[in-house]
Subunit: 241 residues, 6 copies
């Protein structure tokens, strides 16, 4: 039996709490089962050097885990080399969010999405993407209510993510840590609310998988993400109240 | 008027929530006014190299702030030099906690106290010490209930901390960020429940202060920390339920 | 018109020269169009700390570009933080190669695949995987001819990789740099000779893509990689002569 | 018996040699018993980035020990993380000296105080502060005699420091290394010539201490620092000759 | 017998292939016996900060070895401290090349010579210098044919280098790795085509050597480098065709 | 006229003060004109990993300058990349000293020579070598008087160093900073008391030099170092008293 008594096709309980901390322009706590991530969106009125004078903005992300988010304490990414896993994940989050932002419309400002995992039980990168989208939307709301006027809406779509896996030939949606560590195939799908694929990253830890299985995972993700998109909209609405 | 409508001699509201995250042997969220810190205590059955074979344990601390715990986003202590401020604070936390632990009684294990500030409004280092004490006590409770027997109680005292300052010749207890940034003198006191001083760190940013003012601060801290000690005991008791 | 006058469904000319350098147990120069990568396989009779005493081997990879492999000189990943791109690529190469190695059969030794790009024109990571496979096979041949006997063949499959992209709604196989920089979707597929998917990494830089397009890319890759698999076998055979 | 046959209330012999090296604007060798520190003051006609355009100067410090200043050779703070102890000490020195400098009057220049311990026998940070004050005053003399005119005297006070400790219930002034390593309480006091406290840092390594003991230490420090202030003035006068 | 059946006074076979890679302004593969180095010259239209506004150019070098250029795999100079050996060699290459460049005539541009050893059998630093000279000349040819006009020829001489050693009292020219590891004296000479010495670096690993032996080495180098200078001119001419 | 009114063939005044600091097994202050270096020799009863179990010792060196040893303050080699110049110099010092030590006779111990320049006026690396030799001899004396018995004398020779230069066609011995910065050729010679060459490092900053000039420099160095060798022996003798 899977955690939360769910079927292979069901996601874990998902909750998104807006305004979780009070300093950032956008801030949520996203809980996907036992996985908990604080996502904040910080606006700075400047762009990185490589974009200077190009009349556009930038969206970037940083990802980190508290040392004891996991079962064993993990050393901080500090005072030396940031781990490849961390860099890989935060690059994924940044690309995913940029896919729904019109950087020209954003203007010469940077929005940094900090995703800090305080409790980890699988799917931290997908929860980070799903939560960061809400923080980003909140930050844009904040800019608008602070009197910033955009030439057009910088937010050109809605994006969320979910993990999938193949375990004993079953395709599972939204794996927790235990499932993830046993899965033969590990897949992360980032999709838009209109059903387009923004990012796909799949790895066969054990047996290779087929195009047919890949298709099965797309279908499952498309269905499962409906709940994510609804929860995002609800959190954004709640954040405005 | 001070925040929370309090007098110069009053601390901010203090709450300590045990079991805030579910992986560490001890874990709390401590809120002191708007300042919020997650403190976890992680037990590892080994000691650092400099203590190998000395038949004693170790207690150490790490301190960090989420990048957007503050009004302006702050760069992570990552991939390079950890800031002097961070090192100074985590050394203070470690020393303060070791002052109430019998390292011989602890046995050959290390307890790491991770203090991660998720919201900062002054007094993050003192809140970290006060919260870390509870996480430490919970971790020792956890060890005992897991069947570890100690030769004697590793916890030989109770420790908490509070900040003070001098602002326009008034001595203030438990400063928030705004007060802290204006204070002429900045003081942190770490004391035991029996009234002893474990650490004192005071800096005159503007005018030097006198021994008499120093005494006034001791008295105020002694009175103010009574509430901290009670809140700690309550949280430890609650953590056992 | 595409480079080398090829159709959307054709790969660039591919050549794999075994024994390109003379020190490593396995060594090739792989040329895919203008992209040139030196891949060496180095055998060490020890395993990394995390595998000590587990009676199995390890396969890992490092990826680097000569500073002037590209049109503009790029700083070396030296004396500081290795770039996220580099770490991401070498983790991909390592995982891809491990997918066809029986680490138990390999025994307690490590094979490191160094992929050094001396000329870059798109597809350096896929060329690295394709070339590293040959270097790996050569290193295993070298071990056998040096008298090492394995409990079973450590090489349990054949793996190669190719890039794909979507540009102006056309699906293109094996993009050169110019195409890559204009593509709306950037896909890397790592597959086995028996048609299984080992890794899929796809990113929509512009418009999201559909499951149908994804399927189109799988089909194209499966057809295109036939030439890669043949070239690998030919190079391995030549390396034995 | 204490070193140099002194009572609990006596400091070690103190000597301050001006112009010890010949390149810096201010330079002394300070010897406090066996502890020897070279302090230089370097003037640069620019301010750090965070003070640009604010029409004020800056005073900062760096602290280091020669590897064999101590009984056992210590690794240099080089090629990696500077130790927390080093950062803590140099921050203390910098703050202490800034407490007696009018940064507005200094104008847009930076004075860096380098404190390099060539022989260590306890009290290196307090000797650094006491010596750095003289180097700083010499550098200001140098600027004046080079024709710089200040809007008002940048030096608004005189500062020196001394260590104290509690050992077997006795309060000791100016501990050498052997005493320091045995003391239950370790205290550093930075005071002005007019008796104000600029910095207080006290740590109970063993038993906590009382406010009464703290007061005893203030009194002892106030008396003991009289000799320091006289020695500083004598060295500054000698430096002018 | 020495490798390639040569006498003590003979160099190994030397070949220099121009246009070895296709992106850099100058690029060669230099083979000296089994030692193989890719040397590229990259032109950038800016100078390092310390030369800003001084109306002159700069020539610098970087040196690296592929991890498996040698018999044992060597860790990359990555993510930390670059090795002293690497820094020493690339500083030597840079100084040697600057000795034949008129930096004023070069104008405000930087030429970076990247010397990447793909196969190492002794003499990698001298081969790097000899090859880098050709790459540099090619880059200047490239600038001229791109329409850049210089106030005068930036290339004011021709430089090449060779190693020598003393082994069992014999003076050997151009040592391979095996000879180098046994030699009692290790010498590198960088000379101009007109017989001047640009750099001399000699180390007695075992017995000290005499001025007479030093003279013997100069004579041998002068004779041996004639072939290097001819090969350089031939490669430059070939690069123009 | 040269500093100290000396001829082209004369060295600056040289003094070597033994026991300059009191913690190291060997310690001197060497003054060569205005250049002043503290050299200490530290004995540790272990060898670096690469010499484990080879029944021999090791001699190594570290070199550093106080930030204000020079006319302009120089950043410390701290918290990052050690400069190439520093690494080059300390490698030279280490090699030079090892040339006169029988590492087998030394036994499994490491002697580290720390050369810290407190005042710099040219020739800091040669003064470091000359001074470090005395510190090394003192440390060996210390070991002997502590009861260590060696199978044979670990010190098999005497080594010292001097700089030379060519300036306006004159060969100068022992250059100060001003001369050094104007010299066309910069030479460092490390020689033994019996006249052998241990290290030669010469660089033509401007015009190349001839073998004849090289010979002239050897002769001058041989004559000039006589005073160095005598001063070393006198300091060692004085250190024993």
């Amino acid at each position: 039996m899977r955690s939360e008594n769910r079927s292979d096709q069901q996601c874990r309980n998902l909750s998104i709490t807006p305004h979780f901390t009070n300093q950032a322009e956008g801030s949520v706590l996203i809980c996907s089962g036992q996985t908990q991530v604080i996502c904040t969106a910080s606006v700075e009125e400047r762009v990185p050097p490589f974009l200077k004078g190009q009349d556009q903005g930038w969206v970037t992300a940083e990802y980190s885990m508290l040392p004891r988010a996991t079962n064993q304490r993990v050393r901080r990414d500090r005072g030396g080399q940031v781990s490849g896993r961390t860099l890989e994940i935060q690059r994924l989050i940044g690309r995913s969010l940029r896919s729904v932002v019109d950087l020209k419309a954003l203007g010469e400002r940077t929005i940094t999405l900090d995703c800090d995992v305080i409790q980890a039980d699988g799917g931290t990168r997908t929860a980070s993407i799903t939560g960061a989208y809400v923080a980003l939307a909140m930050a844009l709301d904040h800019l608008k209510s602070s009197g910033v006027s955009f030439i057009s809406n910088p937010l050109k779509g809605q994006v969320a993510a979910v993990s999938l896996g193949i375990l004993e030939n079953r395709i599972l949606l939204d794996l927790d840590y235990l499932e993830d560590s046993q899965a033969e195939v590990d897949m992360n799908l980032v999709m838009t609310a209109t059903g387009g694929i923004v990012e796909v990253q799949g790895t066969a830890e054990g047996e290779p998988f087929s195009a047919a299985q890949m298709n099965g995972m797309f279908e499952l993700a498309t269905a499962g993400l409906k709940g994510h998109f609804a929860a995002q909209l609800e959190a954004i609405a709640q954040g405005r109240r």
